[in-house]
């Protein structure tokens, strides 16, 4: 999903910086609050950030002869909301732009939006809706994380199609970019959803009290999940 350095013409790269900025500001504010008020959640925050580090470094082969990587931002979004996930995504994207020439500093705004904001917002909404509707917790986490991954790549395709409609127009360009990005991503999104679901299970087993203190799950659901695993 990285849009490479210099591959977004003006005004698009500026627009995506402006769109992403408020989320980062709110995310930093929320992070600050979390650090001051819920210190017990800090190790979990570290795990969520580390998860983005690991998953976004793994380039996996997909079904159509090209490689792409999962994003890992779904976990942070489910646990801490999309704004904090945006900050985590920003850290990883800066690392990759500076040290790996993956993505770029001029395209950072657009890349933060797709990976750190759009995907996480979807994951967050799907998770909240699923829990409220009383759906199976792990199935909800799976779907939320997989969709976060997939939406990231769909949004990248939209960003590129907006900047490069070419002769085919926006829809034509979108389907060309989506063929490169989104189709490749479907199997990887499923894997990512499955892995994050597994991590969620370990959090339930090892640190269930944190899930209730972050208002992620009601006490009774945590109890039920733990009994089912025992």
């Amino acid at each position: 999903m990285h849009i490479m350095e210099g591959f977004l013409p003006s005004p698009w790269w500026e627009i995506w910086f402006i769109v992403s900025l408020p989320f980062i500001v709110i995310g930093l504010y929320q992070l600050n609050k979390l650090v001051q008020e819920k210190r017990e959640a800090l190790p979990l925050l570290a795990v969520a950030g580390a998860f983005v580090f690991v998953l976004s470094s793994l380039k996996l082969p997909s079904f159509n002869g090209s490689c792409s990587h999962p994003t890992g931002t779904g976990l942070g979004a489910i646990l801490f909301g999309p704004c904090i996930a945006a900050v985590l995504g920003l850290i990883v994207l800066v690392f990759q732009a500076v040290f790996l020439a993956h993505g770029g500093l001029t395209t950072l705004g657009a890349n933060v939006f797709s990976m750190g904001i759009a995907g996480p917002i979807v994951a967050y909404l799907v998770y909240k809706a699923g829990i409220r509707a009383g759906a199976n917790t792990y199935a909800t986490v799976f779907v939320a994380a997989a969709l976060a991954d997939l939406v990231t790549y769909v949004v990248t395709s939209i960003q590129l199609a907006l900047a490069f409609p070419g002769t085919a127009g926006f829809l034509g360009a979108f389907s060309a970019f989506a063929a490169v990005f989104a189709v490749t991503q479907v199997p990887l999104a499923i894997i990512e959803g499955a892995v994050i679901m597994l991590v969620f299970k370990y959090i339930v087993q090892l640190k269930p009290e944190i899930l209730t203190s972050l208002n992620l799950l009601p006490e009774s659901t945590v109890q039920k999940l733990r009994e089912a695993a025992a």
Binding site: V54, S57, L58, S66, C67, V98, L100, T156, G166, A194
Partner: protein
């Protein structure tokens, strides 16, 4: 089933790997001399854009000088993340055991 989910995820990954091997065999047989499959989607999108005549207006400030150094940095990125995840889960596990 205590490990039901682990088994399901492992099965999924095995299926994923198996499909890759089958596909790879099919793709390799169609490749000509010196061609390489399984390139990155990021690069494919970039060449799609360049084919319209667009010239990127900025260059990365630094690029890993070789594929080896690039994979070193990617491995480092994954290792940093894995250490943190392992440390925190291990710490919690230890806390539970002694509590």
């Amino acid at each position: 089933m205590k490990y039901g989910m682990e088994i399901a995820v492992a099965a999924l990954i095995i299926v994923f790997a198996a499909v890759f091997l089958v596909q790879d065999a099919a793709i390799q047989s169609t490749l000509g001399e010196g061609e390489e499959a399984w390139g990155g989607a990021d690069g494919e999108a970039a060449s799609l854009i360049e084919s319209t005549g667009y010239e990127p207006w900025a260059e990365p400030i630094w690029e890993p000088p070789s594929g080896e150094i690039e994979s070193l940095l990617f491995a480092l990125q994954a290792a940093i993340g894995a250490v943190v995840i392992g440390y925190v889960f291990g710490y919690w596990q230890g806390n539970r055991k002694t509590a």
